[in-house]
């Protein structure tokens, strides 16, 4: 029996979700919907008495004050009267329904037995005169995501149903396959292996004289996937660089990562780097008792298809990285950086199969919000970039910082250890996620790769974290890793790389029946970790998990035979040598070319009205306030926040970086920031790397940090790097990373790449611009010396620190006028380092009251943000800016985006001391904080060029992203 229960907000009660939906429909340009109704549906499967059913409704499912319920027989067949459209949207079979487990528990707590399964759905009623086309538009754009949902037809039975699985060993004939056939096997199996790799596999099985099983092929595909092996960045590259003056550089690269990113760390050799590029996250020293680890991941493809689930599992996944580092770190902060298409992009221009940027943004933000908040991890830092290039391929970067006791920072699997799977159950969700991420998206992606998308359940993960950390502190296991891309296949494969492993796949607990042995092995179901547990500790370990309702199962053991052997009900389904699996990848030389493009430098006179320009730049999506997003994140849970993302007199100014105290009883803190600027990369990825690193470091200095113990992370999101031009720009970017990080003295400790971010329309493939994200983390000895950007008091002096050059290529100013330009901001890291060190000393001596770095929008935006965040005006003289501009132009000085610049506020009585501290550093005394609420800027000729009151400035900055 299936009972359908409908719960909705009482008619006369304000329903914010209903109102939100109405607004969203209007947003689509449809004004004929008069009223909407939203109801929550519960399908209960089982047998209970009518009395008990009522009890469930009254005592569990309905709020007595605000809601009412209805028990209905055949919900899906409700008749629609004229002008009324009713439909029920349910999750597809196999998609995780996070409410199922908790609702079942709630029913058991009432003392009612008899309900065996639950699915939930949403019912919508739209009232108004709508054409079928309009209705479909609303369904498609707002209410139904076919990847994970469908409109319920008559039959509700099937949403519970899953057929039994009958074991049958499948082998794939590759011994007799030719090149064409091999290609077909790779394509049909969604293996995403290239010709050379398929041939290598064939050779291996020829050697051992048998055909592989499907499971063996899958295991190899997962292990060799770009997602797991990073074969492009670690592989051989033949790089050619052609610059404009016909200079050519040809370089053979054996391993790009080792020769750039990792080389910085090796050469800097910082004693506080504890574990780098080895574990699931990079580890640095925090204090005598603890280390800090940090990892940033991307979840781009899943977020393009199902923004909520994609982002949700993106953050869920990266949380498990610190948790899977050493013997497990406690997650203490999250970061998130997104790249979207513009939210006002016309619907008519959207490529087929893509979701509108606004929907992607709302979904992604909600996904990160719900997972991070429910895990109780503060989301403290981030950035959002809007550009049309991301219409088909949004980027979602999620990072997690963890705190780990010093003596728990390393792991080692011992042969004989039992393999224990802990956390969530395994379902058909996320099959082929790792290999799918190697594919280009197309209009078909949402159909063929739908199973690659998953929904997360943060509470399952939270329970797991709570109990794992207990088990860790009791020393009950030798090693831990997360089940991420590639599922068990990658997790067990990696942990057993040096010894060997055997797994009984039928011991893996399943969400529902019907999974084949291969599906179990490669499922990327969320919220699972793998432990290596000595047998003597097993009972105690299982008891700890059991106490808090966390599932844990022994599924196999680590061996000493250097083989990976998998069994299903006693049948051998996979037997691979670890050596081949991990080191059998063919050595492919990839070609990379970077050709310096010369973009025209625009010629135009300085506009008369710079007030208007400044307001427009403040209103651009890239510069404007992101408060709408930030407030939805709990950025204060755990109590450690010291410098919040929003600061200033009204708690709404844009903080440069976040500072938190991981231990509430210590003044020691960490500072977190990031740098991203893809526009510069379109001109020259080398200088994009420079700018990203400079920006991330600037932000650390601006809140009172120093360069002494700062580590950085790289995340490369690129197009299809099998194409030489894409790979060429990546190589050049990596060279930039090397030089800048080396000269700034900041080591890389971890990184990740996501390639193949392209969207295919017909034959045409649209690539994202190569997008580098630099995330930075630094240690602060005493957080009570930190400062913020908001102006503090009238009469104080305003300085600019650093030089301004005519660098407007890729700037917001040029963008506003419709130009890209060629003069991309460069960096002199040796000078930059001296400058930042001097400024950092001055801040720590208490000589600076506020500080803000100059980035997008240049000095103009920096001054405006400091003014309206502090509630004071300023009088500024541009003639005092230390500049290297031949053709003196007010607009260039105001909006140039030159790196390594800061605006600071200094008390008059500290003038001498401050200037002494910054001796030898380019410095300009620009003016002072005024008592009125006007930002007044005088040009190089002494005439007033900007005069705006701070409320107008703030309104321009706040209004675009109030959704």
């Amino acid at each position: 029996m299936i009972y359908s229960i409908e719960v909705k907000i009482k008619e006369d009660f304000f329903d914010s979700h209903r109102e939100g939906l109405k607004r969203d429909i209007l947003d689509l340009g449809i004004s004929s919907v008069q009223a909407v109704e939203v109801a929550q549906i519960y399908f209960l499967k089982g047998e209970v008495s009518e009395k008990d059913l009522k009890k469930i409704c009254i005592n569990l499912l309905t709020d007595p004050l605000t809601q009412e319920f209805k028990i209905s027989a055949s919900l899906s067949q409700q008749a629609c009267s004229a002008g009324e459209f009713i439909f029920v949207v349910a999750y597809n079979p196999g998609v995780m329904d996070p409410w199922e487990e908790s609702t079942l528990k709630g029913i058991r707590d009432l003392g009612i037995e008899g309900i065996e399964a639950i699915r939930t759905a949403k019912k919508y009623v739209l009232k108004g005169i709508l054409t079928q086309k309009e209705l479909n538009f609303i369904l498609d754009k707002l209410l139904v995501n076919k990847t994970v949902q469908h409109i319920l037809a008559k039959d509700t039975d099937f949403i519970f149903g899953n057929p039994e699985y009958k074991f049958k060993l499948i082998t794939v004939d590759i011994l007799s396959a030719d090149k064409k056939k091999l290609r077909e096997i790779s394509l049909q199996g969604q293996l995403f292996l290239n010709d050379a790799e398929m041939f290598q596999i064939k050779k291996y099985f020829e050697k051992i004289r048998r055909n592989p099983t499907d499971c063996e092929l899958e295991t190899i595909a997962q292990t060799w996937s770009e997602h797991c092996k990073h074969k492009t960045l670690r592989g051989r590259i033949e790089y050619r660089e052609v610059t404009s003056n016909q200079r050519r550089l040809v370089k053979k690269i054996n391993n790009l990562l080792k020769e750039t990113i990792m080389k910085v760390t090796e050469e800097l050799h910082k004693p506080w780097c504890v574990s780098v590029f080895k574990d699931n996250s990079g580890v640095i020293r925090f204090d005598e008792d603890y280390n800090i680890c940090f990892k940033v991941e991307t979840h781009n493809h899943p977020s393009a298809l199902e923004p909520y689930g994609g982002a949700n599992t993106g953050i869920g996944g990266v949380i498990r990285d610190p948790l899977g580092t050493g013997l497990g770190a406690k997650p203490i902060a999250n970061t998130d950086v997104f790249c979207f298409g513009p939210p006002d992009y016309p619907y008519g221009k959207l490529p087929p199969g893509t979701l509108h940027p606004k929907r992607i943004m709302k979904g992604v933000v909600a996904g990160v919000r719900d997972y991070g908040n429910k895990m109780g991890i503060p989301t403290v830092n981030g950035a959002v970039i809007f550009d049309e290039c991301y219409i088909g391929n949004p980027l979602v970067y999620c990072g997690t910082i963890g705190l780990i006791p010093k003596d728990k920072s390393f792991k080692k699997v011992v042969p004989g250890d039992l393999i224990v799977l802990v956390g969530g159950r395994t379902g058909r969700d996320g099959i082929h996620g790792a290999t799918f991420s190697s594919a280009e998206l197309t209009v078909e992606s949402e159909k063929i790769s739908a199973s690659a998308v998953q929904m997360g359940n943060p509470i399952t993960e939270k329970k797991m974290v709570d109990t794992l950390l207990k088990a860790r502190d009791l020393g009950l296991y030798h090693a831990i890793t997360d089940c991420g891309g590639g599922g068990l296949s990658s997790a067990v494969g990696e942990m057993g790389e040096n010894c060997g492993a055997r797994v009984d796949l039928d011991k893996v607990p399943l969400k529902y029946k019907g999974l084949s042995y291969t599906e179990i092995w490669i499922s990327e179901a969320q919220e699972r970790m793998i432990l290596a547990v000595p047998e003597k500790n097993l009972d105690r370990l299982l008891e700890i998990f059991e106490q808090e309702n966390v599932e844990a199962s022994v599924i196999g053991e680590f061996t000493n035979d250097k083989h990976l052997r998998l069994f299903y009900t006693g049948n051998l389904v996979c037997d691979l040598e670890m050596e081949f699996l991990h080191h059998g990848l063919p050595d492919i030389v990839r070609k990379a070319v970077w050709e310096k493009k010369k973009f025209p430098e625009p010629r135009f006179p300085c506009p008369e009205d710079l007030n208007n320009i400044l307001l427009k730049i403040l209103s651009s999506y890239n510069v404007c306030s992101k408060e709408w997003i930030i407030r939805q994140y709990d950025h204060e849970v755990q109590g450690g926040s010291v410098i919040k993302p929003l600061v200033g007199i009204n708690n709404d100014g844009p903080s440069d970086a976040a500072v938190i105290r991981p231990r509430l009883d210590s003044p020691k803190g960490i500072v977190i920031s990031c740098g991203i600027n893809p526009k510069y990369g379109e001109i020259d990825p080398y200088w994009m790397a420079g700018s990203c690193i400079d920006e991330a470091l600037r932000q650390i200095i601006a809140v009172g940090g120093s360069l002494k113990e700062v580590a950085i992370l790289d995340n490369f999101c690129w197009g299809n790097t099998n194409k030489p031009d894409r790979l060429g720009s990546l190589v050049r970017c990596a060279f930039g990373c090397y030089t800048m990080a080396k000269d700034y003295g900041v080591p890389f400790i971890s990184g990740k790449d996501s390639l193949n971010n392209e969207y295919k329309i017909g034959k045409k493939s649209i690539s994202i611009p190569g997008t580098l994200l630099i995330s930075a983390i630094g240690i602060i000895e005493d957080v009570s010396h930190c400062i913020t950007l908001d102006l503090k008091n009238p009469k104080n002096l305003i300085y600019i620190v650093g030089e301004t050059f005519p660098e407007l290529g890729g700037s917001e100013y040029y963008h506003l006028l419709g130009y890209l330009g060629n003069s991309v901001p460069q960096v002199n890291p040796k000078k930059g380092r001296r400058l930042m060190e001097a400024l950092s000393r001055a801040i720590n001596k208490g000589l600076v009251l506020s500080c803000h770095d100059c980035s997008e929008g240049g000095i103009g935006v920096t001054l405006a943000e400091m003014a309206f965040s502090g509630g004071w005006g300023m009088e500024i003289f541009l003639g005092e800016v230390p500049y290297k501009i031949k053709n003196l132009r007010n607009d260039f000085i105001l909006f140039s985006e030159s790196n390594t610049r800061f605006i600071v506020e200094v008390e008059r009585k500290k003038k001498k001391e401050f200037e002494k501290e910054l001796r030898g550093i380019p410095l300009g005394l620009l003016g002072c904080v005024s008592e009125d609420r006007f930002l007044k800027i005088y040009g190089v000729d002494g005439k007033m060029i900007i005069c705006l009151d701070i409320d107008t400035l703030k309104e321009a900055w706040q209004s675009p992203l109030k959704l």
Partner: protein, 265 residues
């Protein structure tokens, strides 16, 4: 003198337990984080403790409605034990999700385990983290004096952060009148000057701007804002500007609870 013992009750999805315990320890209590299963399985008893704290978080994912499933566990499984705890006049504090639990279990505003008021979706339709100004009981506009043991000697206005998606206080008119009459409205959202005001000062659309209430005895306090997130100045959003170094507004609430136990139990 013996240190008052606080149980910080945890379950799946609790996430403000650590900092809540830290706040209690700061004011001289001993604390223990206890999973509800340990109580249900009789490994521990509520009666071993002087104060019960139900911290913030998303218990059981806030599925169905915030705090509902934990509320039902208290109401249907741990009822007897809770009744004994209440009979012995031991204080209880529910913060954010803990407040939602107390309300939905029918422990606040009155005991009897029948839900009389609710906390529902914010008018803004989304989760929000922001700092609010709260008018404290001794300075309320409501008629009757408030006798809450947790809120003695607070300044007229205090600042705490809220971080929730379901914090809108809703009750029938008569119930609100009764709360006023009995002096049970403990905290109201106000603006900087202390006046009742609209969004964002009232961050969720709560009726009568109600942010926290107590029961008739004054022993049980429930509030949406997070006092444990303002126990020292470094947690305040404008400490760099205003430089009022020292303790945070929230600490006194914990101290009041602990002092009460020292004097009375």
């Amino acid at each position: 003198m013996r240190k008052p013992k606080v149980i910080v009750l945890r379950t799946a999805g609790t996430n403000c337990d650590g900092e809540t315990a830290f706040a209690f320890e700061r004011v001289g209590a001993r604390t223990e984080l206890v999973h509800i299963n340990q109580i249900i399985r009789k490994e521990k008893s509520l009666l071993e403790y002087d104060i019960l704290a139900i911290p913030g978080g998303f218990t059981y994912g806030d599925d169905i409605s915030a705090g509902k499933i934990l509320a039902n566990e208290l109401k249907y499984i741990l009822r007897e034990e809770l009744e004994s705890f209440l009979r012995e006049k031991r204080p209880i504090i529910g913060i954010c999700n803990g407040f939602q639990v107390l309300v939905k279990a029918g422990i606040l505003p009155g005991n009897g385990f029948k839900q009389k008021v609710t906390l529902t979706y914010n008018d803004s339709g989304k989760f929000e983290d922001r700092w609010v100004y709260l008018r404290t009981p001794e300075h309320q506009s409501t008629s009757a004096p408030v006798k809450c043991i947790w809120t003695k000697n607070l300044p007229e206005i205090i600042e705490l952060p809220v971080a929730h998606g379901e914090g809108k206080f809703v009750a029938d008119k008569e119930v609100i009148e009764e709360l006023k009459k009995n002096g049970q409205i403990v905290f109201q959202y106000v603006d900087r000057e202390g006046n009742l005001a609209g969004y964002p000062y009232n961050p969720n659309g709560s009726l009568e701007s109600i942010a926290g209430i107590c029961d008739e005895t004054g022993l049980i306090l429930g509030l949406m804002p997070h006092p444990e997130r303002h126990i020292d100045y470094l947690q305040h959003p404008r400490w760099v500007r205003e430089r009022h170094f020292g303790k945070g507004d929230g600490l006194k609430i914990f101290r009041n609870g602990v002092e009460y136990v020292k004097k009375n139990l």
